[in-house]
Each structure stands twice: as structure tokens, then as C-alpha cells.
């Protein structure tokens, strides 16, 4: 068996009885056993659940029944997404022994489509970070360059797929946490529009920004997973009733004549030269594919980091108030209730989470609410307007995913502001709620992956996938 399993290859091999779903799961667990002590991509394996589901798929094959779209496909789930009966830590000590009593809707839909859930992947604590170094369970290594970070916060989900330890995975994206690790690990990674995928069972960081989305080794598999998890869920009132198109069919359409906007603000100073060269080559390739390139302005881009770190931390400070040592998770005992709260939270949260709770509480507190939180919400409106204006002129926007290639472990941990500033190209689309994908755009010196980011208008996932697919098929990944 090779490392390059795709969804179609799994289904085809199952149907042709070349391999059973249980053998395939066993093969993946064997590889995880070989690689995970080095990469630290998985935190918990759900073998019992995986083999139970694999046996169900094998029974369908034996009975000659039709196979569902993800039959037997081994998938990894980021550890901020709830899995019934399988430990879910959020990369935090405060949830070290937490076992959810229910499944996230996205997980339920994957299993209903036949997927085999292998386990839970490492991430920055409560999805707060851009390098996976904020996990209470240790950093993840980038399988493409093991002295480097895999990106974050969904670093484990990206590394697992890039290393062939899962065929696909789910991550979550609040300010870039799917797209940036996808870029760093050299695989396609997508967030749909806000409201496209139910957040039910996603343990909240910033509710107006959080989204669940897929990683895979190719864009067709990204489209297949997105198609399965997307759509209205009565358990999440922000999941929309907008119909879910057949992404795999839609993405095959030719891209000739597609109008691609190049926002000049995304090519200002601060970008690594190696990244710039690859992205410029990527844009040349789009031209060869017959896309019409148009330089445009997005005037408020430079204000996105400041806006994002107000809104995301404010929402986080509110969402994380639930960890109080009463109903689940860690409790540090004390004679008084309030001291128990304080000690539990002081001991259970790591450095980055505490930093964001303090900042978020501050920007919401009396006397500062108008100057920070309200101001942030107003500038968010301006950033979203930039996107709406742009999509009146162009079909999609193309930018780098990250201004820097994967950096060395420990290289950037001492300066939180510098780490935040590197999220500049991803947080804009998060604030605006639009869909975005990162697709491989070559490697610097043949070693460090670069990602090209494509944004589309709200609920324009099909167009985003269409261009990503054409770019991939034209060899964008080996530029």
C-alpha cells in the first residue's frame, strides 16, 4: 500500500475487494505507530470506534450493497471537535480527561458517509496559535521538514495528512488555522463560508469566526469532504439554509476567462522573498490557464490584525468562562467557590490562552469597550465591505497564504505580537466570513512548502475549488 491513498482509491479498492476497510485502518494505525512519536500529530487514537465502523463498511461490501461516498476512508479529527466517547482535550490541561457525551455534527456526517475516524489530532490550546507550539501536549513537527513547525492551530490535522497518517482530516479556522498549516505542510486546506458547516460540537474559541473545514492530499478530496459536512443543521442556528452544490462536479469547469483579483496590499513589504517568488510564479500560471488578472485595492487590509485580535480575544474571554471546575474538566480544590474558580483556571490554562483571556476581558471591560471592542466591530464592517466591493469587480482573489515559510520550532515563541502579525493574509477573510483555500504552490529550495490562497465571495466555494483544482492540475504544486 502506498502513502497516496485518495478517497476514490479507497472506495475503488474496497468495492473491488482488493483491501478491506479493517485492513486499511490497521495499515494506517501501523503507520501512525511508526511516525507519531516523532511528529506528535495524534493525541488520542479511537481504534475501537474505527474498527467498528470499518467492519460496517466491510459488511456492506460483502453484502454487495452500495457504498457511501466516504466508505472506509480513514480520517483524523482536530481535538477541538467533539467525539462521543473519545477524549477531546482542545490541546489543554483543563480538559485533559474530558470525554464528550455527543458527536459534533461534522463528525456525525462523516461517519454517516462511511468515514473511519482514526483519532484526534494535536493543536494549539483552544486553537489559539499559529505554530502548534501552544499545545499542552507538546509541539507537532512538520513532516516536510521536521525541524520546522507544521503551522497552527490545526497543526496535527495538517501533519497527519501530509505524512500519510490519514487520507483526510478536519481542522478549524478562526484566523487562518486551517489555511496556514495547510500551506506549511504542503497540502490543500479549506474553510467554507461562515455558516456553511455546522459548528455544533466544535468547542468554541471565537463564535463569530470559528469554522470547521477539511485537509486532504488533493482538491477533489477537499471538495468531497466539504460536500459531506456542509449544510443546514438545526443544532446550529448560524448554519445556513443555502443549498450545497455538487462541488466535485462544479470544480471541473474550465477557468478560462475567470477574473482573478490580485490585492496589492497583500504584496507589500514583510513578505519573505522565497514566498514572493513562488506566488508570482503561481500567478503567472493562472495567466497561462487563461484567467484574467486584475490588480485591485483592499484599503483596510492593514487594519485586519488589530481588528482580529480585539474580536477574537473578546469572544474567547467570554467563551472560556465556562471552564470553572464545576461541570467538567480540571478542578483545583479550595474552600471557597471563587478561589476554586481562580486556581482551576490559573492552573488549567496555558500561557497563550491566559494572555488572550486577559486581553479579551480588557477590551470588553467598562471604560474600554467603546475604544476597543466597538471600534473593532466597526473596522470589521469596513474590511467586510472591502471584500464585497472586490467581488463586484472580480470572481476570486489570489494572495499568499502566509508571508513566511515554515519556521523552526522555538524560533518565534518569545514575541506574541510578531507571531500575530504573520496572520495578516488569513485573518481578513475570517473577519469577512468568505470562503478560502490554501493550495500548494511549490517549495522554497525544494524543501519548504508555500501556499497560494484563493478567496471567493460568500457561498462561492464552488468557484474557489474550481480555480484551486485547475491550479493543482496545471502543476501549481511543483512550481
Amino acid at each position: 500500500m502506498t502513502a497516496a491513498w485518495t478517497i476514490d482509491a479507497v472506495r475503488g479498492s474496497l468495492a473491488a475487494k482488493k483491501v478491506s476497510a479493517q485492513e486499511l485502518a490497521a495499515d494506517f494505525y501501523k503507520r501512525i505507530g511508526e511516525r507519531n512519536s516523532e511528529l506528535n500529530a495524534y493525541l488520542t487514537l479511537s481504534e475501537e470506534r474505527a474498527y467498528r465502523q470499518a467492519a460496517r463498511m466491510d459488511a456492506l461490501v460483502a453484502a454487495g450493497k452500495p457504498l457511501p461516498s466516504l466508505a472506509g476512508v480513514p480520517i483524523a479529527i482536530k481535538d477541538v471537535i467533539s467525539t462521543r466517547g473519545v477524549r477531546t482535550t482542545c490541546g489543554s490541561k483543563i480538559l485533559e480527561n474530558y470525554v464528550p457525551p455527543y458527536d459534533a455534527t461534522a463528525v456525525e456526517r462523516l461517519e454517516a458517509a462511511g468515514a473511519v475516524i482514526l483519532g484526534k489530532t494535536n493543536c494549539d490550546e483552544f486553537a489559539m496559535g499559529s505554530s502548534n507550539e501552544n499545545s499542552a501536549y507538546g509541539a507537532v513537527r512538520n513532516p516536510e521538514a521536521t525541524d520546522r513547525v507544521p503551522g497552527g492551530s490545526s497543526g496535527g490535522s495538517a501533519a497527519a495528512v501530509a505524512a500519510g497518517l490519514a487520507v483526510a482530516s478536519l481542522g478549524t479556522d478562526t484566523g487562518g488555522s486551517i489555511r496556514q498549516p495547510g500551506s506549511f505542510c504542503g497540502i490543500p486546506a479549506m474553510m467554507g463560508s461562515y455558516g456553511r458547516v455546522s459548528r455544533y460540537g466544535l468547542i468554541a474559541f471565537a463564535s463569530s469566526l470559528d469554522r470547521i473545514g477539511p485537509f486532504a492530499t488533493n482538491t477533489r478530496d477537499v471538495a468531497a469532504i466539504l460536500g459531506v459536512i456542509a449544510g443546514r443543521d438545526s443544532n446550529d442556528s448560524t448554519s445556513t439554509t443555502a443549498p450545497v452544490p455538487d462541488y466535485r462536479a462544479a470544480m471541473e469547469k474550465p477557468v478560462k476567462g475567470l477574473v482573478v483579483g490580485i490585492p496589492k496590499e497583500y504584496f507589500a513589504e514583510g513578505m519573505d522573498d522565497g514566498v514572493r517568488k513562488k506566488i508570482e510564479a503561481g500567478i503567472e500560471l493562472l495567466k497561462k490557464l487563461g484567467c484574467e488578472l486584475r490588480e485591485i485595492q483592499m484599503a483596510h487590509t492593514d487594519y485586519a490584525i488589530a481588528t482580529y485580535y480585539i474580536i477574537a480575544t473578546a469572544e474567547a474571554s467570554s467563551n472560556l468562562a465556562r471552564y470553572d471546575g464545576v461541570r467538567y474538566g480540571l478542578r483545583v480544590e479550595d474552600d471557597s467557590l471563587l478561589a476554586m474558580y481562580r486556581k482551576t483556571r490559573g492552573a488549567g490554562f496555558g500561557a497563550e490562552v491566559k494572555r488572550r483571556i486577559v486581553l479579551g476581558t480588557y477590551v470588553l471591560s467598562a471604560g474600554y469597550y467603546n475604544a476597543y471592542y466597538l471600534k473593532g466591530q466597526k473596522v470589521r464592517a469596513l474590511i467586510a465591505q472591502d471584500f464585497r466591493d472586490a467581488f463586484r469587480k472580480v470572481d476570486v482573489l489570489v494572495t499568499p497564504t502566509s508571508p513566511v515559510p515554515p519556521f523552526r520550532l522555538g524560533e518565534r515563541t518569545n514575541d506574541p505580537l510578531q507571531m500575530y502579525l504573520a496572520d495578516i493574509y488569513t485573518v481578513t477573510g475570517s473577519l469577512a466570513g468568505v470562503p478560502g483555500i490554501s493550495v500548494p504552490c511549490g517549495k522554497i529550495c525544494g524543501k519548504l512548502p508555500v501556499g497560494l490562497q484563493i478567496f471567493g465571495p460568500a457561498f462561492g466555494e464552488a468557484t474557489v475549488l474550481q480555480l484551486a483544482h485547475a491550479f493543482e492540475q496545471a502543476g501549481g504544486g511543483s512550481l
Partner: protein
Amino acid sequence: MKISRADVERVAELAYLDLSEAELEMYRAQIDEILEYIGKLNELDTASVEPMAQVLADDQTADATLREDVVVPCGVAAEILEQAPDPEPPYFRVPKVIER
């Protein structure tokens, strides 16, 4: 200086978060730098801009898409209590509540 040590102490109190002396000083300095950076938003005149709390179109907001409010069986109370640090079914037990 945007944020003082007393501010950080007050905020930690609001957030029920025990911070060590070293953490108080570290967060004060780091958050000061972040707030200094955030100050760039004041370059923008937003007097006539409506604040944006969420991104969905009007016909897709939570208010517009509420499901019918009906009782559905759940039955996970026992499992939920199993997760509690100090359960006394059907209750969560907490330390005695005293005046602040």
C-alpha cells in the same frame, strides 16, 4: 503606557484567573505592546460606520433561522455528570459559597 499592572490585576479578577507575579508583569508588558499596535485603528474615522457583530446575510441570521422550540429527548444527564469533578447525582457539588 496603555495598560498598568493594576489594570491587569483588575482584569484577572474579572476573569477569575489566578496569575503569578511573573505572569502579571509579563502580560502587562506584552499586552501593552499589543494595545499600542491596536491603536492604529484610530487612524480610521468610523463615526458613521455600523458595528458588525456577525457576517451572515439578513435572511440567514440566527433570528431568521430559529428552529421550532420543541422538547426532544436527550437523556445524557448521567454521562454529563460522569464528567464532573465532584458529582452528587443529580447535582454538581461545589465549595461553600461565601461572601466576597
